[in-house]
């Protein structure tokens, strides 16, 4: 198996976290801490319209009245929100027109990332490279956006949200905060006040986006919280597949990441949102590592629309993430496919919410949680059939796999049905890798670690096959790497 061989090679090369380094690019930062002046500073630096500043300030004032949620099964030292830089931008940000203008240091950063998605080629403009448009976010500000022209010819808008605020303010104003309001939750509210940048996508009516859109998030500068804001709108009858992948440099202090992603699909539209998250998980004792507190939500506003979330979560010290679907339109469909791997001292509390409001709405949840070492993995989900969700249908399957006797796997689903004609089914299992499976592999000369990677890949197959091709390959490798050292 090629993928397994690659995993073996990758595990061998690994030694330590592959993406652990720091790029030395001059940063422009706002002073540490958070107050109204910082919010004004961020807004002013981005030359935002007044309504945007007002919205940020409303969010900030609301945030002051909120307390950090404690219900998730994660344990971490208190975060000092005044000890974080809320704005850091690479100096060289005047919108590079070509790759030559991109800071060579940044290109070297991409080089170190390896070529899992061929972004290198894309960025380098290699002929025949796959058509993957990359909006690279380098510590909060988009520095390179490619394939813009081809997208423009289809009327697709794919740019940073700051640019969108300049060029398409009416679209941003119409949709921003309509799926995740600024009062939503502690981290989403914080994000609304201080979001630095992120991606904006608008697919006009009837357009099938000609390529897969991709963003590489990287957290870079020391102590910089990253507050991405992504807004994707698929207008009537359109389709877009969006990829999000993440790596982060190694360091000792914990980093906060509180992103917000909002998706809107109108009538007959479809958004496929795929994530591979591979941020620094901390060392074996759990020191360092990213705190990933993300709010992702999609609204199927129109009839017959569809949102599909696929995620592979292998990184971060703490993951707190519930990509959700609000199924408003009749016949709309929400899907959630997730693999969450927690090793060493990682903690993941993740799942989804499917809120069925319209008639004949359907949702499907497939969640695979894998715990190893001393890690703790929780699936937390909600399926709600509203009283008008006639003939609503949900199927949920949550499986947990335990590797080692010091880890934990939890399943906490909430199932609420207020409609007789709706049908909800939930099933969950927890078990460990079968000794007979392991024995079978070992007997055929496969090392224990490779055998585990192989079995786990099989366990996750249903989810991994939902990923776009480039991601699926990377994800398979990640599964192997993430479980390194968990057996024997």
């Amino acid at each position: 198996m090629a993928a397994t061989a690659q995993t073996v090679a990758q595990v061998r090369d690994l030694g330590k976290y592959k993406h652990g380094w720091e790029t030395e690019i001059e940063m422009e930062t706002a002073p540490k801490g958070l107050n109204e002046d910082i919010v004004r500073f961020i807004s002013a630096r981005k030359d935002e319209p007044d309504w945007m500043l007002d919205w940020r300030l409303k969010a900030y004032r609301h945030w002051l009245t909120m307390t950090e949620p404690t219900w998730a099964m994660v344990d971490y030292p208190a975060i000092d929100f005044q000890d974080i830089y809320y704005y850091a931008a690479p100096k060289n940000t005047e919108g590079p027109k070509s790759l030559d203008e991109v800071d060579p240091e940044l290109l070297r950063t991409y080089e170190k990332l390896g070529i899992p998605l061929k972004e290198q080629e894309v960025l380098a403009g290699v002929q025949g490279a796959p058509k993957v448009a990359v909006d690279a976010v380098f510590d909060s500000v988009s520095v390179a956006t490619t394939f813009k022209k081809e997208l423009e010819s289809h009327g697709v808008i794919f740019c940073s949200i700051s640019e969108a605020l300049q060029n398409h303010p009416e679209l941003v104003r119409k949709y921003l905060g309509t799926v995740v309001p600024y009062t939503d939750n502690f981290y989403a509210t914080l994000n609304s006040a201080v979001f630095s940048d992120g991606s904006f996508v608008y697919i006009p009516p009837g357009v099938h986006c000609p390529m897969e859109l991709s963003t590489y998030f990287r957290i870079n500068a020391k102590d910089t919280g990253q507050f991405e804001r992504t807004l994707i709108i698929a207008d009537e009858g359109s389709y877009v597949s969006y990829l999000e992948g993440c790596t982060a440099p190694m360091r000792d202090e914990n980093q906060l990441h509180a992103a917000v992603v909002e998706l809107v699909t109108l009538k007959d539209a479809e958004i496929k949102y795929s994530t591979v998250q591979n941020w620094y998980p901390g060392d074996e004792t759990g020191k360092g590592g990213i705190y990933n507190f993300v709010t992702k939500r999609g609204a199927c506003r129109g009839d017959d629309s569809k949102i599909r979330w696929t995620q592979v979560e292998t990184g971060s010290a703490i993951t707190w993430k519930y990509p959700s679907c609000i199924l408003q339109g009749d016949n709309s469909v929400g899907e959630f496919y997730s693999v969450a791997i927690a090793n060493n001292a990682q903690q993941a509390d993740t799942g989804t919410k499917m809120i069925h409001l319209g008639r004949n709405t359907r949702s499907r949840i497939i969640s695979k949680g894998i715990s190893a070492g001393r890690a703790c993995n929780t699936y937390r989900g909600l399926v709600r059939m509203g009283s008008k969700a006639l003939n609503g249908r949900n199927f949920t399957q949550c499986d947990s796999l335990l590797i080692g006797d010091r880890c934990g796997a939890h399943t906490v689903p909430y199932i609420e049905s207020r409609n007789r004609t709706a049908k909800v089914e939930h099933e969950a299992t927890t078990s460990r890798i079968g000794e007979d499976q392991l024995f079978y592999c070992r007997q055929r000369g496969i090392g224990e670690e490779d055998a585990v990677a192989l079995i786990v890949n099989g366990f996750c197959k249903e989810v991994l096959q939902e990923l776009p091709m480039e991601f699926a390959v990377e994800a398979q490798k990640l599964v192997g790497i993430s479980l390194e050292g968990s057996v024997g």
């Binding site: 590797i403 006797d405 934990g408 939890h410 689903p413 049905s417 089914e425 939930h426 099933e427």
Partner: protein, 452 residues
């Protein structure tokens, strides 16, 4: 003697959730038996403090997320109801359909010897009231009660802990098998003010003993009352305790029951709960599998219509390795009824070779019925097999079509399917004689339910 310590009126807590409501409670239990030991007064006062500091749980308390007790705070309750006048003839026959050989009757939470029939039980088995057990200073009772009262188990348990006056006590010595089912008939009566009562029950099954308890809760009135009961079960090594509960309280009653069982090695606890009555009811089971080989089966069936709210909450704690649990709950909801099922299965670190399975199914027969399900698995060991499943929805359209295509009228076909649905759970009742009467209850409920 032991009156409640006065409660600091300024203490944060239930003040806004019905200070009037608690006036009666603050006056504490009426003078307890004179022989009450000192620890009892202290334990009551301690629990009263815990309850006062907390008040009734609201939606923000995760365990009570789906069950709202605000209905209670609107009632003016009689916390120390005078013994109600109940004629023996007015008591319902046992659900078995024949007279019980052994029946202990409680009226508004107080044991009534004149209404009860308690023959001599084999091997020194004791079935008495808690008041008598405390008065006679029964050592086993005091030790277990002291230990259980000290456990902080939430606001409603604290409320019960603050009372500790009466209830039933069943003690089965080591190695004794009690063949005849022991029936506990708990009667709620109305009154000028709805009575509130907090019975505390104990079941102590010695090593190797076997006993079956049938609890039958009925309302002898149309009006409401508030029953907040706690039952402590301790099962010794290899003991087998079967507990079958039929809850057919008044449709206006609030019935909150907590059963807390601790199982020693090889012990088996088998519980079945059949819920029909109550305006708001909750049947909560907490089972701790403390030693290898302990095993529990928790099953239930419920029927709810009108504006009934019925809640089944279970928590099985696999403390020791090689322990097993199985759960199956099935319910049918009509009209504006709401049901809640919350089931938690915890496997502690190092509790290897554990099996825990759970299933909850609900049928919604009306447009306005609602079901909220929250099954939970919290696993801290790896060599385990755990699963849960939950479904909610209407009757299977294909099964209905199958029957209709064979000439069965729709109404009858629906009734057949509902009965078949619930019978899967009823089949799990260990006491064979109970099954048929329960099935008849289902048939009657279906026949009597209002048609739109």
């Amino acid at each position: 003697m032991a009156r409640l310590a006065p409660i600091d009126e300024t203490a944060a807590g239930p003040a806004d959730s019905g200070a009037d409501w608690l006036t009666g409670w603050r006056n504490g239990p009426a003078d307890g038996p004179d022989a009450s030991p000192d620890w009892l007064g202290a334990a009551r006062a301690d629990a009263a403090g815990r309850f006062a500091g907390r008040g009734l749980p609201d939606r923000r308390v995760e365990d009570w997320r789906y069950t709202n007790l605000a209905h209670l705070t609107g009632l003016e309750l009689d916390w120390s109801p005078a013994p109600a006048d109940v004629a023996k003839e007015s008591l319902p026959a046992l659900v078995f359909g024949r007279e019980a050989e052994c029946r202990l009757v409680l009226v508004n939470g107080q044991v009534r010897p004149t209404l009860s029939t308690v023959p001599a039980l084999p091997g020194g088995t004791v079935l008495i009231s808690l008041a008598d057990a405390l008065a006679s200073g029964h050592p086993g009772v005091a030790d277990l009660l002291r230990q259980r009262v000290a456990v902080d188990g939430g606001a409603l348990k604290a409320l019960n802990d603050s009372w500790l006056e009466d209830g039933y006590v069943l003690i089965v010595p080591d190695g004794v098998t009690v063949d005849m089912p022991i029936e506990i008939l708990s009667v709620g009566t109305g009154g000028a003010l709805p009575p509130a009562y907090q019975p505390r029950n104990l079941i102590v099954a010695g090593a190797g003993s076997r006993v079956t308890v049938v609890e039958h809760h009925v309302g002898l009135c149309i009006g409401g009352y508030f029953a907040n009961l706690v039952t402590d079960v301790a099962a010794g090594a290899e003991a087998i305790v079967r507990h079958c509960k039929v809850q057919d309280e008044s449709r206006e009653a609030v019935h909150i029951a907590l059963l807390d069982a601790a199982l020693d090695s090889g012990a088996m606890f088998d519980s079945f709960c059949f819920t029909l009555g109550g305006r708001i009811s909750r049947n909560e089971l907490r089972v701790s599998l403390d030693a290898p080989g302990a095993h529990c089966r928790l099953n239930g069936a419920y029927l709810a219509g009108g504006r009934q709210h019925c809640d089944h909450t279970t928590s099985v704690d696999h403390v020791a390795p090689e322990t097993h649990s199985e759960q199956l709950y099935k319910g049918v909801l009509d009209d504006r009824a709401r049901a809640v099922f919350q089931g938690k299965v915890t496997v502690r670190p190092d509790a290897q070779k554990v099996e825990g399975h759970q299933m909850s199914r609900a049928l919604l027969l009306s447009e306005t019925a609602e079901v909220n399900t929250k099954p939970e698995l919290l696993i801290h060991a790896d060599d385990v097999q755990c699963s849960h499943g939950a479904t909610a929805g209407d009757l299977d359209g294909e099964a209905l079509f199958y029957l209709r295509s064979r000439g069965v009228p729709e109404g009858q076909a629906r009734q057949l399917l509902v009965e078949a649905f619930l019978n899967e759970a009823i089949d799990a009742v260990a006491l064979a004689g109970m099954r048929l009467p329960l099935e008849r209850n289902v048939a009657r409920w279906m026949a009597e339910r209002p048609r739109p």
